[in-house]
């Protein structure tokens, strides 16, 4: 049997076996000890069973490392394509067991090849990052290699969904590829991202800090806003990537898939009539509304731990994927601050790029006041959200749930920046500002001169409340298309999305706008 086979076929068997072995048993065991799966095991879980097709399996490193003696199967990265729930995606998975997954010329060429293919065929690209960094021995070639990837990331942006999973170290220049992609997933405890590591920090600013404290998953999920999703281990992380992909179209020319979860569009929820508390100073949880209206109560929240005063995420209405942006009155009263504006703006632009309709649930008392915010650039950051909503051409629907005050009302996808349909609950309060602030401005004299200023204040506030703290004034002016019963919200949204399905809205001819980045 063996004798009659062509020797090249036998060699192919050997070469493949060699590639599949990765960095060898010892290194694989170390990878497992660290609670990490190998590059191949990760692809095995990410993709549908048996669907992975490898590209460049035979490519090896230039052989400059460790005097050229070390074997570098696949040059430290596995690339190819496979299926997620039956749909094609392109993947690369860095192999930490092979020279630390370090990135050099060949390694980069492999990644660039699948990125080019992904863009040409219009399929998502998913990168599983686990790399020690640039392959120093390759010098400027290694730097050029990064640049090639960045270039492709930028040009694929808005064309195909790009997803990065940080499943090990990701340091130095390497961080910029993930940061350009649409979503960054991190694995708690085993992944780290920073531009300069703890050693450099120690040398330069004489500060002792651990990798975890400097750039662990928790830091990027809560403080920096770099990571959109964090999961406790590799298995959960890769499952979540599959879940995200199932929400998305494969490219910007497609619409997102329709998933019928057998949830009646006309389903009403009487609880919503009681959601907004009678006391305007009392908060409530916006998640109750979100989980009530979405199909089968399924919601994939983006950056849940970062700027929790705004909720962004993907869900479905009538089977169609929608991007949901909602103020969260339970956190900072739902006010817009720097982080919230940035978080929502980026999410809105992602949805617009990939034809995902936007649904906005508003309860916003305004922008967050104070020097911290002003000096931090709330003017710049707030403008991003304003720009992002205004620029979006996908179907845009807004429901004002309670407060919609001042400039923040306008920014939150209002009729004035041309959302398609703007509904309000009867509990909505659309005004320039809250009753106290307004009364203090309008009736300052009268209150000062009154015998009982407190009573006068209360009286004037009550009058203001009666006249302005409702959706009816705005509805009479046509700024609100309809005041809807809370329990019917789901049905009304689905009906609106139905007729907006064929919406066409052109953009002016220009190279691109100048979003205040």
């Amino acid at each position: 049997m063996v004798e009659i086979m062509h020797s090249n076929i036998l060699e192919l068997f050997e070469l493949r076996e060699h590639a599949h072995a990765g960095g060898g048993e010892k290194r694989v065991a170390i990878q497992h000890q660290r609670g990490k799966l190998t590059a191949r095991e990760r692809l095995h879980l990410l993709l549908d069973e048996g669907s992975f097709e490898e590209i460049d399996i035979l490519k090896v490193g230039r052989g400059e490392t460790a005097g050229g003696s070390e074997s570098t199967p696949g040059d430290g990265v596995i690339t190819g394509h496979g299926k997620i729930s039956g749909r094609e995606v392109f993947v690369f998975s860095q192999d930490f067991t092979v020279i630390g997954g370090s990135l050099g010329e060949g390694h980069s060429q492999k990644i660039c090849k699948v990125m080019d293919l992904a863009r040409q065929v219009g399929s998502p690209i998913i990168g599983l990052n686990d790399s020690g960094g640039a392959r120093i021995q390759e010098g400027v070639d290694a730097l050029a290699a990064y640049g090639e990837i960045f270039h492709r990331n930028v040009h694929a942006s808005g064309v195909i969904p790009q997803i990065s999973c940080i499943m090990g170290p990701c340091a130095g220049g390497a961080v910029y590829s993930p940061s350009i992609t649409d979503f960054v997933f991190m694995v708690d405890q085993t992944s780290h991202m920073f531009v300069t590591g703890p050693n450099v920090v120690k040398t330069v600013i004489h500060k002792d800090i651990s990798s975890e404290e400097l750039g662990g998953a928790a830091v990027h999920a809560k403080k920096s806003g770099v990571a959109q999703f964090v999961y406790p281990n590799d298995i959960l992380c890769l499952r979540a990537v599959r879940q995200l992909i199932n929400f998305l179209p494969s490219n910007n020319r497609q619409k997102a898939p329709i998933l019928d979860l057998n949830d009646p569009p006309e389903r009403t929820d009487p609880t919503l009539d009681y959601l907004v508390p009678p006391n305007p100073n009392q908060s409530y949880d916006m998640n109750v509304l979100i989980y009530s209206i979405l199909d089968a109560a399924e919601f994939l929240e983006v950056q849940p731990q970062f700027a929790a005063n705004i909720i962004c995420g993907l869900g479905r209405l009538g089977g169609q994927t929608i991007g949901l942006v909602a103020n969260q009155p339970a956190v900072l009263a739902g006010a817009l601050d720097n982080n919230a504006s940035f978080k929502a703006a980026r999410f809105v632009r992602f949805c617009d790029a990939f034809n995902i309709p936007l649904v906005c649930l508003v309860d916003v008392p305004g922008f967050m006041p104070g020097p911290e915010q002003e000096h931090g650039g709330i003017i710049r950051h707030g403008a991003k959200l304003l720009y992002a909503f205004t620029e979006a051409t996908v179907p845009r629907i807004t429901v004002i749930v309670r407060k919609a005050y001042g400039g923040a009302y306008v920014v939150m996808n209002s009729k004035h920046i041309h959302c398609d349909i703007n509904y309000a609950w009867p509990t909505a309060e659309i005004a320039v500002m809250g009753p106290r602030g307004a009364t203090e401005v309008i009736h300052r004299r009268e209150i000062e001169q009154a015998e009982d200023p407190d009573a006068m204040m209360a009286e004037k506030m009550e009058t203001y409340r009666k006249h302005f703290m409702n959706p009816f004034v705005a509805a009479k002016r046509g700024y609100i298309d309809d005041v809807i019963f809370p329990r019917d919200t789901r049905h009304r949204l689905i009906r609106t999305l139905q007729f907006l399905e064929s919406k066409k809205s052109g953009r002016p001819d220009r190279k691109h706008g100048n979003i205040p980045l």
Binding site: L37, H44, L45, S85, N246, T271
Partner: protein, 671 residues
């Protein structure tokens, strides 16, 4: 008969009374506090009157406001329900003085029975046996110690005023008396303005048996059999039933007659309950008489086919009882479970908030008396009782099975409830045997060293349900993506009929094999050696209740899925299952154990409530277990103790503050 009455109560009992009034054509007036303005009892009554603020003293306990409301709306009578003003003789008196009818016994009788010492004296006169105890109430610690020494330890401290177990404490040793007395008196003097404590012998393994009596204004007194309320937690009843396994017809007659005798001696009118404790040897002792409608009255109603509220109204209106004792006979068995807003997984702390989803069980011989619905808000100010589920069966086992199934299908979301805990009791072999005692819960479920193992068939059903829903949901995604998939080579897709998964929950791991039988609704499920034939309904993923037929038997499960993690509750067991496909399971062994974040140097508030007292100050050294902050929530007071030895850096709350779960109470100094 009355044309219009006022109901001086809230929640399920107000709703319950309104229901009977409607069938009798009596108009109803509800009263409510500010936070209750959208409650069901307010919506269902013909009229409603706002009493005042959230605190009971500003609303439901305000005698003058309630009477004023009744007069203003032209009511002829007031039904007090249970709790609140129902056993307040001053209220009964003032109602009568205002020219209204109090639906309940005369004020003097309430006063007598409300005073444990007077009630006990009356019981002795009526020939009803009483618990060995010290005949006088004590106020001081010294007196309590003397009394306890005379009666013999263990002793029970009982407030002279009040009921429902409020303020009661057991004391095993003299050295524990100080703290027990202090807590007991604090609670009672605040609630009732009466610091007197009654000391009596504590009887081990007693059953709680009570006799429902009813008397009209014409001297007729009958009893309607007993209720067994032995299943209690901290003196709060959870499960009640009628009749009781412990009573022979002869004993029933004896206890019933004595209860009637006591009612006669007291000059009792209307519905009342005589509570006894029944010792293992069959001897029984008088505990107290409740001069109101009991929470658990429906079990008596079901076995007697009577409406007790209707009888109360007729008697109050002067009508005679329509039957005599010899016409009373009990038929079948009834059981009741009290559904409360509390979290059994966190020491039964009260649970408050908006009820976001609500689906009550329905079915033959299942009755639900509920005071809440989707959209109701549960607050810290009132009793945690949300609803009662009552089932009836030809025999005890039938009633019990109906109850288990009813609770399996009772879905309440937004707050935690004791529904699954109650089912844990109902499915316990000792409960099934009927071997009850008031220490059932600490002995068999919550005591130290008690390990409850879930029956394998229950876990199998849960694993099957969770895996099926996960599989079908995943499959749906595949089909939905068809239009977007490549059409090249699509025809070669082979449909595989068998699927393998691993369902993991805590330490339990079940490898499952799902075999399709050609239909999406019929499956053969293999778990190890076991084979199940399962029929699912067409999946509606927004629903949280799933009705499966497993080997021909109907099972209701509650489940909530979020990706591979599926929470499921069935027959008292509530778990989260994680579903792994075969490939994931092979690699799962490499995954590190989850990191448990160590809490810092802060003391979190374990439950929502009001701060009653702060017992430490900044800089103070505290030891593990020392009481630091006293909270009141849903009428119960409890202490938050120091988690370890340390020094207090700052105290973040003060008495009167409303706090939520997770509010920081105390900061400790870092060592």
């Amino acid at each position: 008969m009355f044309e219009k009455i006022l109901i001086a109560n809230r929640g399920e009992i107000a709703v319950r009374i309104i229901r009977t009034c409607k069938t009798m054509g009596i108009r109803t007036v509800a009263v409510y506090s500010e936070p209750d303005f959208r409650s069901i009892h307010v919506i269902q009554a013909d009229e409603a009157v706002l009493l005042g603020g959230a605190r009971p003293s500003e609303s439901y306990l305000s005698i003058d406001k309630v009477i004023e409301a009744a007069l203003a709306t032209g009511c002829q009578a007031i039904h007090p329900g249970y709790g609140f003003l129902s056993e307040n003789p001053v209220f009964a008196e003032k109602v009568a003085a205002a020219g209204l009818t109090f639906i309940g016994p005369p004020a003097e009788v309430i006063a007598t029975m409300g005073d444990k010492i007077a009630a006990k004296k009356l019981a002795v006169i009526a020939g009803v046996p009483t618990v060995p105890g010290y005949s006088e109430a004590v106020v001081s610690l010294e007196a309590a110690l003397t009394a306890a020494a005379e009666v013999g330890y263990p002793v029970l401290l009982k407030p002279a005023a009040g009921g429902g177990g409020k303020g009661m404490r057991t004391v095993d040793r003299a050295m524990d008396m100080i703290s027990a007395m202090r807590l007991c008196q604090q609670e009672t003097s605040k609630s009732f303005g009466d610091a007197r404590i009654f000391v009596e012998r504590f009887i081990r393994r007693p059953r709680h048996i009570e006799i429902q009596v009813i008397a009209d204004q014409h001297g007729n007194v009958v009893h309607l059999g007993e209720r067994e309320c032995s299943i209690q937690r901290r003196y709060q009843k959870i499960i009640e039933e009628s009749p009781s396994c412990a009573l022979s017809p002869a004993l029933r007659e004896k206890m019933g007659n004595l209860a009637c005798e006591l009612a006669r001696k007291a000059g009792y009118v209307n519905a009342g309950t005589v509570e006894f404790i029944l010792d293992e040897d069959g001897s029984f002792y008088f505990l107290e008489m409740n001069t109101r409608l009991q929470v658990e009255h429906p079990v008596t109603e079901l076995v007697n086919s009577l409406d007790l509220v209707e009888l109360q109204l007729r008697i109050a209106a002067g009508e005679a009882l329509p039957f005599r004792q010899h016409e009373v006979s009990l038929s079948g068995w009834a059981m009741e479970v009290r559904v409360c807003a509390e979290d059994p997984k966190r020491g039964f702390v009260p649970s408050i908030g908006l009820i976001t989803r609500y689906a009550a069980p329905r079915g033959r011989q299942v009755r639900v008396d509920a005071g809440v619905d989707a959209g109701s808000t549960v607050s810290v100010y009132y009793d945690p009782l949300l609803a009662k589920v009552i089932t009836w069966g030809e025999n005890r086992e039938e009633a019990r099975r109906r109850m288990v199934q009813a609770l399996n299908g009772y879905h309440i979301e937004g707050i935690f409830t004791n529904i699954d805990f109650a089912n844990l009791v109902l499915t316990h072999p000792v409960f099934i045997r009927g071997d009850l005692a008031t220490d059932f819960i600490p002995t068999h479920l919550l005591g130290e060293g008690v390990k409850i193992t879930a029956p394998l068939e229950v876990l199998h059903a849960m694993a099957t349900a969770t895996t099926l829903i996960y599989h079908l949901r995943e499959n749906l995604v595949q089909t939905s993506l068809l239009p977007l998939k490549s059409r090249v080579g699509a025809s070669s897709t082979v449909v595989k009929g068998n699927y393998e998964y691993v369902a993991k929950s805590d330490e339990d791991i079940f490898p499952l094999r799902l075999e399709s039988t050609g239909s999406e609704l019929l499956w053969r499920v293999l778990i190890g050696e076991a084979v199940y034939h399962v029929e699912t309904p067409p999946m509606e993923y927004y629903r949280r209740r799933l009705k499966l037929q497993i080997n021909g038997e109907v099972a209701y499960l509650r489940l909530k899925y979020s990706g591979n993690f599926i929470e499921v509750a069935f027959c008292g067991v509530s778990r989260t299952f994680e579903i792994y496909n075969r490939r994931e399971w092979q690699l799962a062994r490499y995954m590190p154990p989850p990191v448990t974040k160590v809490s810092g140097n802060i003391l979190d508030c374990p439950m929502p409530g009001l701060v009653v007292d702060v017992k430490v100050t900044a800089g103070e050294r505290v030891f593990r277990g020392q009481e630091m902050v006293i909270l009141e929530s849903m009428k119960m007071e409890s202490a938050v103790s120091a988690p370890g030895d340390g020094v207090v850096e700052s105290v973040c709350v003060q008495p009167g503050d409303a706090v939520e779960t997770g509010t920081v109470l105390v900061h400790f100094k870092k060592d």
